[in-house]
């Protein structure tokens, strides 16, 4: 009934309908799902944090005394940009297949009105992989050749910070379009460090047998992706339930344990730490 009402409303209101993707009606299933005590989460199979996100989905459901069902989908790239195609498929999935899409960036300011994000359950940072014996970017000497995955949030922050330094204190930024090329150059010594999203670096690290480590971008702070779930904006009630459950997981320490368990401990954001306190 909820979805029938939604579709009818959107069909009736031209303005509202214009805001949602132009999805042919025959691709939408207007029937209400018999969910029982289940809450269905869509999850991108290609996501580098899929195992972590799936675990979070089950923990959220536990708090709500519901069962989490995972509906796997194949989205080829992490949907920070190139939104049109992503919105098309997200809309279909939220109408047809799931109540919420978990494991997505909730801090995109340009989400359209028909999408509503939950609060973030983790803040996963950009980081640096290097063979240097350092704990952070700031300890690398000026002039160090640092590869950076181009036009990511981390790269943009790195450019801005590097340009703010006097020329003699700047690092040498080498832009890359593909992680495999950047990793090859890190291993052959063309660059001395590689900057990317931490899960990306961890994924690469498992495949190489080199004395490299992942360190933070300090003194850069808040260079991160806020992980949460996206819902249809009409699903206010469910969103409130999910927000409460996420808050509970943060405050009772479950999220901290999960981040550590999945090797994402550095991703506990100041705000999450604050919530924990």
């Amino acid at each position: 009934v909820k979805k029938l009402l939604l579709i009818s409303l959107l069909a009736a209101l031209g303005l509202a309908a214009a805001q949602v993707p132009a999805v042919p009606q025959e691709l939408l299933d207007p029937r209400r799902r018999l969910a029982g005590d289940e809450v269905v989460f869509c999850l991108n199979e290609k996501s580098l944090t899929r195992e972590f996100d799936e675990r979070v989905a089950h923990e959220i459901a536990n708090v709500l005394v519901l069962q989490a069902e995972i509906y796997p989908v194949d989205y080829s790239s992490f949907p920070l940009f190139n939104p049109e195609e992503f919105y098309f498929f997200l809309y279909i999935d939220l109408i047809n297949n799931c109540d919420a899409f978990i494991g997505l960036n909730t801090s995109v300011p340009t989400y359209p009105d028909w999408i509503v994000p939950t609060r973030a359950y983790a803040t996963v940072p950009y980081a640096l992989m290097t063979g240097h014996d350092v704990d952070s970017l700031g300890e690398l000497p000026a002039g160090t050749r640092i590869g950076s995955l181009m036009n990511t949030i981390g790269d943009t922050a790195f450019i801005a910070y590097n340009l703010s330094l006097p020329a003699e204190r700047q690092w040498m930024r080498i832009p890359y379009g593909q992680i495999d090329v950047m990793m090859r150059h890190l291993l052959d010594g063309t660059i001395e460090a590689a900057l990317a999203w931490e899960p990306t670096l961890r994924d690469e690290l498992c495949r190489i047998d080199e004395p490299l480590s992942i360190v933070s971008l300090r003194p850069l702070t808040d260079v991160s992706v806020s992980m949460g779930a996206l819902l249809l904006s009409q699903d206010d009630f469910l969103r409130a339930l999910l927000d409460d459950a996420i808050g509970e997981l943060i405050s009772n320490g479950t999220m901290a344990q999960l981040l550590e368990e999945y090797g994402l401990s550095s991703g506990l954001s100041p705000s999450a730490e604050g919530a924990q306190r």
């Binding site: 790239s77 920070l80 801005a160 340009l163 080498i174 890359y176 379009g177 593909q178």
Partner: protein, 589 residues
Amino acid sequence: VIKAGLFRILAAVLVFGAIASGLAQQQERTYEPVTDEMLLNPDPAEWLNWRGTLDLHGYSELDQINRETVGDLELAWAFPMPTGGMQEISPLVHDGIMYWASNDNIVQAVDAATGELIWEYRHVLPEFEGGYHNYQRMRQKNSVALYDDSVILSTVDAKLMSLDALTGQVEWEVQVHDWEAGYSYTAGPVVYDGVIYAGISGCSMTGTAGGCYITAHDVETGEEIWRVNTLADPQNEEVDASWNGLPVESRWGATPWTTGSVDPELGLTYWGTGMPIPYPEIIRGSGDGDALYTNSTLALDMETGEIAWYFQHLPRDNWDLDSPFERVLIDTEIDGEERSLLVTIPGKSSIAFALDRETGEFIWARDTIYQNVVTEIDPETGEVTLNEELIPTEVGQEVMVCPSLSGGKLWQAVSYSPLTNAMYAPLAETCNTVSPSPSEFLPGEAVGATSIGPRVLPPNQEEAGAIFAIDVTTGEHLWVHRQRPIFSGSVLTTAGGLLFAGDAARFLKAFDQETGEVLWETRLNSPIGGYMMTYEIDGEQYLAVPTGEVAQASSAASLFPEFPLVSGSNSLFVFKLPNDTGESAAAKE
């Protein structure tokens, strides 16, 4: 099973039908193979190369349609394009057959006198991921060349192919570059002395890092003979230095996306290259380096591909003002000395240059439309000084750049008339804001990492459209025609003293080459696009004019709102004089 069987029978019927039809046509028609001699000295009645001749003059010696008769032009026939998208075709004519390749690499052969379809070839394209190739397939330019008894085609999925000129049947095809990495042809090949020369596009794509190529191939087989990388040159240490020491895999751009010119006597072929990518140097990482060989003219040895000389027209580009456009080869006298010139408006900045095409020596440069990116060009060396105030130093910093990334000059080709010793250039007066902006590199997406504002007119300028008539010996402006709508198609000059040009308001116009006076105009269904050309059959001169969707007509439409943009289906209109008007070439002879 029944369905599959029926399908096979139907397919067989269609194939046999096509073959039978092709064979019937073949029996009815004769086709004289296109030779090097024909390409060097074409019969004025024909149009064998995308700009008529290998030196890219875009000029016809036909004069039946002239200052006196142009007012009598009437429609001979018209033809709809088989697909939509941008209208950038360049028809060719040989032995009474007109050939063109429209979007989606559909090649059609048409009776040039009647407009009757003779054959068509539909290239099967793969399913592309991402937006880039799906855009490329809708903006195919002069994708065919004629040689021997074949039509040579370059495709969106980075193949070169040879088709039988009488039947359209595939003779061979080779995968020159990896389209899945991002490569794609958007401009066509040029052929001479048994060798195909072609420049690839897609060098802004994630997977094409460090490699952007001009290649040479055997016309009999497609086998590659040599390739030149426009982003790296082990023979020239200045190239690495100009990228601030970036590894080759961290360089993008220098795309040669306009078909080159050929000078068989010097044994050189001339190509232009595009901008460095990402556009802003603070994101591209090249510091204050010039980023060779972006925005350059490359003179290549036709046998080896060795770079004989290069000239960079816009170093350290930060604004997507790329410079790949046609290099026109002109022999003329300067100060009593016979010179072999390369004259060009190479890039969107629209500054005209003349170089010695044997040595690359700078001869002259001259501004045309308003631009604010170059403050000075050394009159002795041609060294360019940039307006460094327009180089963003922070992400998000916005600067107003003239011209806009739509030009100035764009792919719409100039024309050179030996009658006036002038080059005629369709240009646009536009500006836009530019600011470095992050955008993620994804498979199948081209990234300039720049936010672009809407097109606006330069200060104190009310007319966006312009045609400049430029003296090729000095760069002096002989006349300038200005109007509100931009010129959206390439221009053509003829021995009839005419300059044909067409605009975004759908007007096809004939100008007097000497004065710039508009002698005749008519209005068609859509903005004028592609490459106009002219030819003669049975003593009658024809004028072929492509119309349809033109990206610049849309992006600049707000500059001339009194001409609301009307864009009908992409078409080709062919005009001629009434049979009882004008003296035919045959009659003259």
